[in-house]
Symmetry: C2
Subunit: 231 residues, 2 copies
DNA sequence: GATTAGATCAATAAAAAAGTTGTCGCAGTT
DNA sequence: AACTGCGACAACTTTTTTATTGATCTAATC
């Protein structure tokens, strides 16, 4: 037992994340007091679409995917959630239910911060609020992109989008493709699993990508972009 | 679209569960107003140990298991959650985090009722409160039993307990054993998976049970009880 | 110091899930 | 009416999980 070190560790944990750096000691204390830390195992839901939400989640480490649940067979993947990002913010300021689900792709150390703590810090600390707005804004942009993709592009463009998106995360998370099944890729592109399989093969044949088991290497980035644009 | 039928259905749903029968129309309305309904798929977490809880869950249909999470490998199963039962009540009156996890063994239609609605109904309606107390009490009894088992019994007694418990649910849910892996059985008994496998085989050899794939038939109920008592 | 209860490990078998491929059909377009 | 884009189904293969078994290893008990 090393209680001193442990509390050090906890302190470190709060302060370390860039997004909490700007808080005053009292504000940090407010957040710390109303938070609880949870280990989500690979496959666990961080949020469940439709469930009540009295808190937001802040991912310390690990990766998760965020998606909307449709009927029993069909999900649509929205994004990969990375360390340092919030999940479930939408539940804080408006609805009090989560409007999407998210599940851990790897074990995730997460802390949960109660609604009240976040809203009151936002009210006190403009810089923090500004940051929060920025996050919402980014998410919005992504939602618009998603919408555009779904509305206007067809298979080739969609899977190209997906490849480019996931590949953009690969620098920081080299194992990212390994964590995604073909169904996941399909759910990002909003097409059937079988179509995803076929398209990936055909992209490989055309020399756009290389398939190594589950890992995918983007070879011709430019052409993929082209396909994405063409739709 | 048949909106009238749909609201009928919803109404039916509230009123149908015995535990809500005793509510006055206004009280029922209070509950109805603050509830949301969620479909949990097989494998989904209904509650996650350690997460904030601003609501309790009421299972309409489907089965789930409730367990405590230990270190990464070791869970301990507490009970099977059946339709008509609450999950997460403990979070309502005392702690505001769930002190156990639970996951759906089959798809589960569940509704979530916010804390405030439950507490205020309990304060108004003594009969409902009484019922709630009864539920807590039962759960307590079960926890004591679990504790006793873990503290004092050894493998044979533990797995006998598990078999008797699960078998007692079989009348209402004939498929129950199919839904549980050997690891689940082991986690109920608090022993290793391998030990569970070996014990089940040996019980089969002794004619106490029959193993048909995943299904288990209790042949000698009396003797199992005996083993459970002996410990 | 020997015995016992049980966990842990490693090897294998069996079952389930995920991935792959070809064929077909349907709804829009041309 | 022919064509295109894509999902749905079926059959099959591969990979991943789960189950099973035997062989140690360990700590507690006699």
């Amino acid at each position: 037992m090393k209680p001193i070190l442990e509390t050090d560790q906890e302190f470190f944990c709060d302060i370390q994340a860039p997004c909490f750096q700007m808080l005053s000691p009292e504000e940090a204390e407010l957040v710390r007091a109303s938070k609880t830390q949870v280990l989500f195992r690979k496959g666990d839901h961080l949020t469940k679409q439709g469930a009540f939400a009295s808190y937001a989640l802040f991912v310390i480490n690990g990766l998760a995917k965020q998606y909307i649940e449709g009927d029993s067979t069909k999900n649509f993947n929205l994004r990969i959630i990375k360390p340092g990002e919030f999940v479930g913010l939408s539940a804080i300021f408006t609805k009090n239910t989560f409007n999407y689900s998210s599940v851990a792709l790897t074990d995730c150390q997460v802390f949960l911060v109660e609604k009240e703590a976040i809203t009151s810090v936002v009210k006190q600390n403009g810089q923090f609020g500004f940051n929060m707005i920025k996050r919402y804004c980014e998410q919005n942009t992504n939602l618009f992109d998603n919408l555009r993709t779904v509305l206007y592009k067809q298979m080739n463009g969609r899977i190209a989008d997906t490849l480019l998106y996931v590949d953009s995360l690969k620098a920081e998370n080299p194992e990212i493709f390994q964590l995604l099944s073909r169904k996941d890729m399909a759910d990002f592109a909003g097409i059937s699993t079988e179509s995803a399989v076929k398209l990936l093969k055909s992209f490989e044949k055309d020399g756009l990508i290389e398939l190594h088991e589950k890992d995918i290497v983007v070879v011709n980035h430019k052409e993929l972009l082209e396909i994405s644009k063409k739709g």
